[in-house]
Symmetry: C2
Subunit: 135 residues, 2 copies
């Protein structure tokens, strides 16, 4: 994960959770994170697909949390933005004529999946609520 997406969406949701019931617009949220409002809207669009957020267009519009912060685990958040295995990418075409090359990706699959699942299990025990309570 060489991007800021996890940090960005947890920031967005933390703000929405602390202002439950208020319509907050993307400009305002972007001002807290100090990033471009369009990026905030794109992430919020994904959070809406998960059912965590609702939006309202037009004047006085904005975004609002649509569930209790207890109902969102950090594992779910991570899955939304995860774009690679923790240990990285595998080489695409190892030489199948080499005894190592032939089997390495199968072995790496096992190791890479085990590592990913370890992290997911840990994040599964944490909720957005518990994250916010640490503040």
């Amino acid at each position: 994960m060489n991007n800021t997406r996890f940090a960005t969406i947890i920031h967005i949701l933390t703000i929405l959770a602390t202002k439950m019931g208020e319509w907050l617009n993307s400009e305002w949220i972007a001002g807290s994170i100090n990033i471009n409002p369009v990026i905030v809207r794109k992430e919020l669009s994904i959070l809406q697909e998960q059912g965590w957020v609702i939006s309202r267009k037009g004047k006085e519009g904005g975004f609002m949390l649509n569930t209790s912060s207890e109902n969102i685990t950090l594992a779910e958040l991570y899955k939304v933005v995860k774009n690679s295995d923790i240990l990285g990418k595998k080489n695409q075409n190892p030489n199948s004529k080499c005894p190592i090359g032939k089997d390495i990706n199968k072995e790496l699959d096992t190791l890479f999946n085990e590592t990913d699942e370890l992290v997911l299990a840990s994040l599964q025990t944490k909720t957005l609520k518990s994250f916010i309570e640490q503040f």
Copy 2:
């Protein structure tokens, strides 16, 4: 980790470990991984800095493992190539005038470090030898 460096160095070391005592050149190793020999030499240069590998220039030159595969943990391998936290990057300038923005990076530090350490602890229990024995 959105790159192939971990996969590449574990592949290199697996080959060297299974051909202990032989000088293997970068061209040959690259042929097993199916990548450019210069990249192999760059990675091997880093593995040498760790003391895991020795090299010999010139005709009949190449690379050789310089320690038992039991002495290299996957945690050490990972540290060599790690270039970001597992949960990604933090936003650089959250707004310090916002109560969330002010403290979020401190909270994320805790979470991100805890996650990284979980993975390192797991990789610490695995050695290059144990990885190779699974083949």
